[in-house]
Amino acid sequence: MSGAIAVPFRAPVIAVSIAAMLTLAAACGGGAVDDATGGPVAMRRLTESQYRAAIADVFGPEIDVVGRFEPDNRREGLVAVGAAWVSVTPSGFEQYENTALAIASQVVALDARDRFLPCAPRDPSTADPDCAEAILRAIAPRLLRRAPVESDLAARLDVANRAATEHADFYVGVEVLVSGLLVSPEFLFRVELAEPDPGRPDRLRLTDETVASRMSYLLWNAGPDEALLEAVASGAMSSADGLSAELDRMLASPRLEAGVRAFFEDLFRFDAFSSLGKDPIRYPKFSSEVAADAREQTLRVVVDHLVDRRADYRDLFTTPRSFLTRRLGAVYAVPVAPESGWAATTFDVGDPRRGLLAHASFNMLNAHPGRSSATLRGVFLREALLCQTVPPAPADVDFGLFNEDDNPAYKTARDRLGVHSSNATCRNCHALSDPIGLGLEVFDGIGGVRASENGAPIDTSGELDGRPFADTLELGEAFSESPLVGACLVENLYRYAVGREIVNAERRQMRRLEREFEDADHRLHALLRAIVLSPGFRTAAPTPRDDRAPASVASSNRAGREAV
């Protein structure tokens, strides 16, 4: 670990902090370091699901994690990127401490301690430094995602043993150990570290611990398990074969599902479900239960398609396979036999419910409380699935032009949006969002299937970047054929993996990853593997640093992604 430094996360080379320069110069012998492939490393705050996974991994799934978590912050479309920006507020820390205390007291509960802890004290009414140390050595590496540092262990044990003595209770000391780890910045943040590459001293590579942690969060959305930590400790991870073996083991694990779910929940912006509401008069079928089912339906279809069947990502847009509950069946107007639980369903040829875009999850999230929104849906599809930017409406646009929305002569969304598109200021952006959004107008504001609006038939034809489609089904086909769809998944999954925007030095690597994904017939396993083995994933840029307001960097990063 000595000599390891974390390269700050902020993209283009603008300024270099003196402290880091000195550290780096010392570490590298002052050599030139300007051609590393990766970007800056990140310090990412754990998400709620990552926190929960850590507790379940280390202590067991029966531990209750109660408490409110600091809200995530979505940046450039991903919470995984925002996690490298957010900090911990006073009320957030208060909550972390509360949660930590509650977990610690469950760990030492009389009926549970033997299950959770590797040893019992000789005398529970006082300190037992040996047992305390054994406990700490068992849990600290898992929670901190690194090998123990002796001075750190000693400091933690000192506090715990003193507490045990003062309170005449060994387990008070254990509570201090556990809660102390759970409020530590190294647990709450994933701190990434880089070091000079011995083979190329002018370059920085991530430490094995950081590579292991990145890989584990990418594949499982959880910290390294014991086997992975062991591979780091033994040095196996330093070799290409060792890394590859761990990678294959983790890709083959059932825990891959949790990782894939976490990525798609982030990409699809499913955190918005927590505050989704609909008008109860217009949508009596809507409830928080049906919303939860819709979210789960999409994740099930994604996991079934990409993980279980290892199918082509592009075919998700046309797949006839789905899963429904009876509640969802009511929204889709499809009978579902089982009264509770999930039923596998295959939609017939010609059924507009085929394919990912027909999912109620997207169609209810990207809509208004009492009506659908072709614009919101179009913007979401462009941004999340095609990696294109749709500019926001100008601040000073005169919306008075569109008051014709209330005109009863305009029965369908297409009629009403047609009025918008007659105006030159609006047309440029609405031309990006609306045509594909209108292709989904057979789904109402909660994703319910309909053929007409206000008595007028719904026309779902349009075009996607020059490729015409006649209806919703053909829109799905157009997505599955779009060259942007695969490339966009590569870009998003890579940004998700490294927790930051793509830097210029990675552009060529990104093209390579796109080709590898194509050559593997767009199988997700192949893409995950290629990302972990790509140089950008395992190296770091040498301290490019931006001491100005981070915003200017974020917006300049964006420039490279504006495809339209």
Binding site: A6, P8, F9, R10, S17, T23, P40, M43, R68, P71, N73, W85, V86, S87, V88, T89, P90, G92, E94, E97, N98, L101, D152, A155, V159, R162, A163, H167, V176, G180, S184, P185, E186, V191, L193, S275, D279, P280, R282, H368, P369, G370, R371, P392, A395, D396, D398, F399, G400, F402, N403, E404, D406, R545, D547, A549, P550, A551, S552, A554
Partner: protein, 454 residues
């Protein structure tokens, strides 16, 4: 609470039942016996400690503004008629001043719709992007000065039930999340770690010291980490440690008995109502949180607070409508006879009614010779004036409370295009900050609003 002197029990019981009446929801007015024994001869300070009554600062935000011709008063000074959209504040107008004609000056920055107006007022200038602010919000500046003496540096609440509906923060990366229900607010303030200031006995929780020792051990992590981080991540780690210190301070306060506070009455746990953006739910949620907050302030658990009634680009909704407040402001036709958007304006009226309720909730708590409200300064504001055009000129502002006798109320002040930072500077000064100049670029000002200073 169990071993109180008899007289105190009687009077406190009377006070408590009076306030319970208010907490139950019905607006009842009950004279509460005022206890001289707690106060000095001027009725301004606590006799027991000699400390002056605390001053508090808060913000109250609502989304999507108002209709300027129907909201802005036309006459300056004290004798102004309330325009139709201000009619709901009539019962409490003597406790607040109305500010019109103040702007957020863009100074070349983009108007990030539904954001620039609120951040401009709170951070002293237009934000440089949709993700960043150029400094802490006004409440954070003030809590840095006055927030250290209480258990909570500040309390944030969102009547919408969405924790991210908050504008308070040291930076956009450390935005203080909101409490989303009255029960959560109550639980946080009045359960774990709460010591009744008027209880006869005080027994510190033996675990408090233990928790403190855990927190002080974290300092070790700081040494190990700091040298390895870049500027931005070091700043984030600093924010984390600021939060650790805040909790340490909270625990420190819990080790000794709090000084008695006559105004403090511990409420009963509020019941959980429905949480949604249905305006009826939002108002119930808001009113119940306001009542808990008022007692949290009276019990001196915090001196800074921020309430979001609805977020910028308000998604409040009326049952049966296809649209929410925000989409209505853009898409509803202006009624030709009336000259405004009828449906969208209903939300303006709800917002003003809720604001009046909020002010009344602070006024309902007797404190010293007057009420809790007398010792508060609460800035009500929105991100736009006319929401249809996203206007950040002529932003609607109101300041309620007398800040312990430092603010004049009952006035209408016209800003003539001056920056909203004049309000922020005035508030910092009345809260005791030695700020003489505040604001960014064109919004910088050294002129408090003189008319408001008592």
């Amino acid at each position: 609470m169990s071993k109180q002197a008899p007289i105190a029990i009687t009077r406190r019981a009377a006070l408590r039942s009076a306030l319970r009446g208010t907490l139950g929801g019905a607006a009842i007015s009950v004279g509460v016996p005022f206890l001289d024994l707690f106060l000095d001869d001027h009725g301004e300070a606590l006799a027991a400690t000699g400390a002056p009554l605390p001053r508090r600062f808060g913000t109250w935000f609502w989304g999507c503004g108002m209709n300027p011709p129907r909201w802005n008063p036309t006459v300056e000074g004290r004798d102004f008629a309330l325009p139709p959209e201000l009619a709901p504040i009539a019962p409490v107008r003597q406790h607040m001043s109305v500010l019109s004609g103040f702007n957020v000056l863009l100074g070349g920055e983009t108007n990030f719709v539904h954001r620039t107006g609120v951040i401009g007022t709170l951070c002293g200038g237009a934000p440089p992007s949709k993700n960043d602010n150029r400094g802490p919000t006004l409440d954070v500046l003030i809590s840095d000065e006055i927030g250290g003496a209480t258990r909570f540096r500040s309390l944030e609440m969102a009547a919408t039930g969405v924790a991210t509906d908050s504008y308070s923060g040291r930076s956009e990366d450390a935005k203080n999340p909101s409490e989303t229900t009255p029960l959560a607010l109550y639980t946080r303030v009045f359960t774990n770690g709460f010591a009744d200031p008027n209880a006869a006995e005080f027994t510190p929780d033996p675990r408090t010291l233990l928790r403190k020792s855990v927190l002080s051990a974290i300092e070790e992590d700081r040494k190990r980490l700091e040298g390895r981080l870049g500027t931005h991540d070091r700043a984030r780690l600093d924010e984390y440690f600021t939060s650790v210190r805040q909790l340490e301070r909270q625990l420190e306060l819990q080790l000794s008995a709090p000084p008695p506070l006559e105004a403090c009455v511990v409420p009963e746990a509020p019941h959980a109502g429905p949480v949604s953006r249905d305006v009826a739910h939002v108002r119930e949620n808001h009113d119940a949180m306001a009542r808990v907050l008022a007692l949290a302030l009276a019990c001196d658990q915090t001196r800074v607070f921020n309430m979001v009634f609805s977020e910028g680009a308000s998604r409040l909704h009326l049952p049966g409508s296809s649209d929410n407040h925000h989409t209505l402001t853009h898409e509803e036709a202006v009624d030709e006879a009336l000259g405004y958007q009828v449906e969208a304006t209903k939300f303006v009226m709800h917002s003003m009614e809720a604001w009046a309720t909020f002010v009344a909730a602070l006024e309902a708590v007797p404190e010293g010779a007057g009420t809790l409200l007398d010792n508060c300064a609460v800035l009500a504001h929105s991100e736009t004036s006319d929401a249809n055009s996203h206007s950040v000129t002529g932003l609607p502002l109101m300041i309620a409370g007398r800040a312990g006798g430092r603010l004049r109320t009952g006035l209408h002040v016209f800003g003539a295009g001056d920056p909203t930072t004049r309000a922020g500077l005035t508030l910092q000064q009345v809260m005791g900050l030695r700020t003489s100049r505040w604001g960014l670029d064109a919004n910088a000002t050294d002129r408090p609003i003189e008319a408001l200073l008592a």
